[in-house]
């Protein structure tokens, strides 16, 4: 990009753009898209600041129904069960900070492991020549077709027999080595990298390990960051496996902890405001991550190197 020097009067006219229907329509569309994506968040907030008993009667009111902070107090465990029940909430306690710690641990360990090992595997598939490589790779891809629910039970029994139920190790084990998607994603990227740099390094006597760590990884920082972010968000929201394996308070993650606010008795209504408050609080870390790295995701598609 070169910036052309623009003379002052020309800049002024550029700013005084005339209104056209096309432009107005575009802005309207953008406004609509923003509303559609932001309104649900507002509704979560509005429900979290309401009292359960008043919610159903004020379904059409945009403002919180019977405003109070009780739901957030329930989330952070600052409310006695009696008070909670009186507010139509869940009398069950959640240990928010412990669950948060577990969620952070679970998501970051699995993300680090999966991204690192997948990058190694992707390098092997992209750059090393070995017999049966393509067969192994297609087998890998085939595992993407297997719904996770099929492997849940065998995995559960394996973890049980290893005696790792209700441990962090048991929680992260199925995810930590690799995910087929990650390998596929990074392999595609490595294939498009120019070989000249690597060949030059080889002539200088670098071995594969060194090439991988000093050339491939730094050059692939953007897609790896993208992958890490996507993996982290996926892991953060993971529910079924932690529900099976991490029932114990000490390893329970946030998603499973949210279950406390669900239906408390047959036919009973969930503790809506508590559920929404907890959802909001547990979504915050991911939102913050997105705010920081969101640009990276968009930019990672572009790539600079020697063509």
């Amino acid at each position: 990009m070169t910036t052309a020097k623009v003379s002052a009067p020309a800049r002024a006219t550029a700013r005084r753009r005339t209104f056209t229907w096309r432009r107005g329509g575009a802005w309207l569309l953008v406004a609509l898209a923003v509303a559609v994506s932001v309104l649900p968040f507002y509704w979560i907030l509005r429900t979290a600041l309401s009292t359960n008993g008043a919610l159903a009667g004020n379904a059409t009111n945009l403002l919180p129904a019977d405003f109070n902070l009780g739901a957030f107090q329930r989330v952070f465990g600052l409310q006695s069960p009696e008070e909670a029940v009186a507010q139509g909430g869940s009398g069950a306690q959640i240990d928010f900070w412990i669950y948060l710690r577990n969620s952070v641990l679970f998501a970051s360990i699995t993300t680090t492991g999966a991204v690192f090992f997948s990058a190694m595997a992707a390098y092997a598939f992209a750059r090393l020549r070995w017999r049966g490589r393509n067969l192994v790779f297609s087998l890998f891809l085939a595992t993407m077709m297997v719904p996770p629910i099929f492997t849940a039970l065998p995995n559960f029994l394996l973890i049980k027999n290893l005696g790792l139920l209700n441990t962090m190790v048991g929680l992260v084990l199925p995810y930590i080595f690799m995910t087929p998607f990650a390998i596929f994603f990074l392999r595609q990227f490595f294939l498009n990298m120019s070989r000249e740099v690597e060949e030059a390094a080889m002539l200088d006597g670098a071995k594969h390990l060194r090439i991988f760590f000093q050339i491939i990884l730094p050059n692939a920082a953007a897609p790896i960051a993208t992958l890490a972010l996507l993996t982290f968000i996926g892991q953060w929201n993971e529910y079924f496996w932690p529900l099976l394996v991490g029932q114990d308070e000490s390893v329970r993650v946030l998603t499973v902890g949210l279950g406390v606010f669900k239906s408390q008795s047959p036919q009973g209504a969930p503790d809506w405001s508590g559920l929404m408050a907890a959802t909001l609080v547990s979504a915050l870390p991911v939102l913050i991550l997105f705010a920081i790295f969101g640009k990276k995701i968009v930019n990672s598609i572009g790539f600079s190197g020697i063509k």
Binding site: A56, P81, Q264, S265, G268, A269
Partner: protein, 446 residues
């Protein structure tokens, strides 16, 4: 693994061995320490936490950890725990679930304990203790509370329609024309133009307020949906209860009642079945979209907790046999067969089934305890809160209840009956189609 790690591992193993060797007598180990207790109703959590504290004061060497899990997760987590060996020592049990637990040998029989500690099962409301005796004649639970069905109604909307509490308390029903029950439901229904369900020009496709709320099709039990009606026709779910071997969904009396029930949707007096999926009938009621909700006594707290809605409670209608009817369901506390501390667990179950704990539960006014004297206290506690719960308790006093149907293969029966009932209540099939479902159900017992 290096030598150092091996050494510490060996030390740890030795420590574990030493610990487990302490209790070689068995009794000392099995009778103290921490035991886990699970329940699903958060409204009862404060009461049982207090029971646990009182119990710990009386038995300082036993601590009870009370854990609550919502109904949706409770059973999955529990059965998962049976497999993983992480199930709680003692848990709240349900009549619909416990036959399968017995089959899988997951429950501890309590007979010896009951005999040894002279537990008098006559203190419980009649019939409740017998529900928890399996086909093998062994006892698998001590009664904790019971529930019946009544009609919650929106007093303001009823008054607007000119329906008095006296009229609500003296409704009659029959499967041919629905009696005054259907007349009242029709009159309480209002369409978008303000026309009532019994007025000419009523638009059944654009209803604003339904006379009767719908929770679901009721599957094979219809506990809160239709059993209070079918129960007045002298129809029973099974040939005998508990442990029936033959279901009666092919009975014309039953099918006629269900046709009437499904007809309410057709007439526009009750919401369509598909609108109830994922929604809460009680919340819909609180939004002023339905006037009468037939529901269980465990929902009293939920219905009376809504702001801006005044709730009345009326008994279920007098039916074909000239009496009211309500399903009568009882919960109990059971002990997990794999518990490491059977003695402590049994002690806790006995305490849960005693007046000491059930009076505490009664004082919180959330449910009706199983012990007669405690149940009376609960009625008083509700009254002190300004809620008259006699419509629930009078059916037990008058003997118009019938017990929740207990049979084997509950999950499989549900798997057949739920879709079958769904298609009838959604108007896709007539109730006569249930005959075929009934044959499938009965084939399970051949």
């Amino acid at each position: 693994m290096n030598k150092k790690a091996l050494g510490s591992l060996a030390a740890a193993a030795a420590a574990v061995l030493a610990l487990s060797a302490c209790g070689s007598g068995g009794s000392s180990e099995a009778g103290k320490g921490e035991i886990n207790y699970w329940l699903w109703d958060a409204n009862q959590l404060p009461a049982y936490k207090q029971c646990a504290d009182d119990f710990h004061k009386a038995n300082p060497d036993i601590t009870v950890k009370v854990t609550q899990r919502g109904w949706d997760d409770y059973w999955g987590t529990l059965t998962n725990g049976f497999v993983a060996g992480t199930a709680p020592d003692v848990f709240t049990d349900h009549l619909g679930k416990y036959p399968e637990f017995i089959k899988n040998k997951q429950l501890l029989a309590l007979d010896d304990a009951v005999k040894k500690d002279n537990i008098d099962t006559s203190v419980y409301n009649s019939g409740l203790a017998d529900l928890w005796v399996g086909q093998d004649g062994k006892r698998y639970g001590l009664p904790k509370d019971w529930d019946t069905i009544a009609l919650f109604y929106n007093t303001k909307l009823a008054a607007d329609a000119g329906v008095t509490p006296e009229q609500m308390a003296s409704l009659t029903w029959n499967p041919q024309d629905g009696g005054t029950y259907e007349k009242t439901i029709a009159h309480l229904t209002v369409d978008k133009n303000g026309k009532r369900g019994d007025e000419p020009g009523f638009d059944k496709n654009n209803v604003a307020v339904y006379g009767l709320g719908l929770n679901g099709s009721g599957s094979g039990q219809g506990q809160t949906e239709w059993s209070y009606l079918t129960g007045t026709t002298d129809w029973t779910h099974t040939d005998k209860n508990p442990w029936g071997k033959h279901f009666n969904y092919d009975d014309p009396k039953f099918q006629q009642s269900i046709d009437w029930f499904a007809g309410l949707v057709e007439k526009g007096y009750m919401p369509k079945l598909e609108t109830t999926v994922g929604a809460s009938m009680a919340d819909t009621f609180a939004a002023g979209k339905s006037v009468i909700n037939a529901n269980g006594s465990w929902m009293i707290g939920q219905y009376t907790g809504y702001k801006d809605i005044k709730v009345g409670i009326a008994p279920t209608p007098v039916g074909v046999n000239g009496k009211r009817a309500s399903m009568y369901n009882g919960l109990a506390d059971s002990v997990y067969a794999g518990t490491k501390k059977p003695e402590a667990a049994i002690k806790w179950v006995e305490y849960l089934g005693s007046a000491a704990c059930q009076d505490v539960v009664a004082s919180k006014a959330v449910v009706f305890p199983a012990i007669k004297t405690s149940a009376d206290k609960a009625v008083e506690a509700f009254k002190a809160k300004g809620v008259d719960v006699t419509p629930f308790s009078e059916q037990v006093k008058d003997g118009t209840t019938f017990l929740y149907p207990i049979a084997d293969n509950a999950a499989k029966v549900d798997g057949i009956m739920k879709p079958a009932m769904d298609s009838v209540v959604s108007g896709k099939a007539p109730a006569s189609s249930l005959t075929q479902a009934n044959d499938q159900v009965n084939a399970l017992f051949k």
